[in-house]
């Protein structure tokens, strides 16, 4: 194969691990991460690929001709980034179809990892606030409940961003952000005739949707260990929300 001449086994291993890392850290489930490494290495000329995906480490063993290489890498958890995940899928499809060279694939994926555009934090704060206002409406809240939830959740979201930036663990930032949002909603409960809808909606910006859905997806596809790890992560955040909420509810009745 022509690719074997262009790119060494060590380079293929490195690149496949980088691809796996990108899929894993951007919110791919276990099957997707494993398939991404598999597809990348196969397209670059490996004839056998075995992968390991755990919640904190990625590994793979490649065979190319008579050579074999094994490598492991730490896989830190980062924010969900579906735009990068989508771009990665396109790059892999292009590589497999032979539309781009291995070198072009490498620079494309490096660019995805380094600078996929993100929405500005203030915009996320505003729209996450409105999202929770939408929840209050779905829970049959009145307009005052919707407005109150929007403000409280936006401030809660800003709190969460500030705490994540300072490196706080999930239990801590979930507790603190839920506390702030519930406290503000509770303080304004006299404004609305449906305070329960506002209180129920104001902490939903913390719901760990991606770990819950990826965790279930892992369980249903036979990746039991990783599925449990993801669901446990989600439960820790949910416990944090409950603690923060109950502390605030004690203070505002």
């Amino acid at each position: 194969m022509s690719t074997e001449a262009e790119i060494s086994l060590a380079q293929v291993t490195h690149l496949a691990l980088q691809i796996g890392l990108l899929a894993h850290s951007c919110g791919g489930d276990t099957a997707r991460t494993s398939a991404a490494m598999q597809r990348c290495a196969t397209a670059l000329g490996a004839h056998r690929v075995d992968t390991v995906v755990s919640s904190l480490n990625l590994g793979l063993t490649l065979e190319m001709g008579v050579q074999r290489e094994t490598a492991l890498r730490k896989a830190p958890h980062m924010g969900v980034n579906f735009r990068a995940l989508n771009a990665l899928e396109r790059a892999l499809t292009a590589l497999e179809a032979g539309r781009i060279s291995p070198a072009a694939f490498k620079s494309w994926t490096e660019q995805i990892a380094a600078d996929t555009p993100r929405y500005p934090p203030w915009l996320i704060v505003v729209f996450v606030g409105i999202a929770c206002g939408g929840f209050a409406a779905l829970f049959h809240g009145d307009l005052a409940a919707i407005a109150l939830t929007t403000v409280a959740s936006a401030i809660g979201m800003a709190t969460r961003q500030a705490l994540v930036k300072r490196g706080l663990q999930p239990l801590m930032f979930a507790t603190a952000a839920a506390f702030v949002a519930t406290l503000i909603t509770g303080a304004g409960h006299a404004l609305t005739s449906t305070p329960d809808a506002a209180l129920a909606a104001c902490v939903l910006f913390l719901i760990p949707g991606v770990p819950l859905i990826n965790g279930t997806s892992d369980l249903l596809q036979g990746n039991y260990l990783n599925g449990n790890v993801r669901l446990t992560m989600a439960i820790v955040i949910i416990v944090g929300i409950a603690i923060g909420m109950s502390l605030a509810l004690r203070m505002v009745g």
């Binding site: 919110g27 489930d29 099957a31 997707r32 398939a35 924010g79 969900v80 980034n81 579906f82 735009r83 990068a84 995940l85 989508n86 899928e89 396109r90 499809t93 996929t116 993100r118 929405y119 915009l123 996320i124 729209f127 996450v128 606030g129 409105i130 999202a131 929770c132 206002g133 939408g134 929840f135 409406a137 779905l138 829970f139 049959h140 329960d196 809808a197 209180l199 129920a200 909606a201 939903l204 910006f205 719901i207 949707g209 991606v210 819950l212 859905i213 965790g215 279930t216 997806s217 249903l220 596809q221 409950a242 909420m245 109950s246 509810l249 004690r250």
Partner: protein, 151 residues
Amino acid sequence: MAHWLICLWGAPAALGFALLFNVPPRVLPACCAMAVLAVGVRYAIVTAGGDLVMATLVAASAVGIVAQAWARRLRHVSVIYAISAAIPLVPGVLMYHAVQAMLRIAALPNNAPGGALLEEAGVNAIRAAMVVLALTIGIAAPRLLWPHRHG
């Protein structure tokens, strides 16, 4: 507000989460449309007399299947649509009632009976957990039914 109009609030609820998950801008309208679809399907089933868990399962499966079809056509990854669109189905009210009942159990005086509160907390927590389970299984449904077309 008319009841069916409430379903439209699914769109902003999904939009906020889509921004949080860094969904590409061109995909945002589809996420919002699917969220309204999800809330609408669930509302229709509950109105017709179905229970919330079953209705959530059907609504989430609809989102999963539509997301898969849409994503295949545009060569996108289906989870980027499905996860944000399913978020408005999260049973916030049930979760809230469960937490509130647990808080009242914590505040009980010594030796006071807490049976009624325990029942309230338990029923709400179990219903919430089952709705979340139905939601996640529904989203994964296409991958379970057609494992080789994973996209």
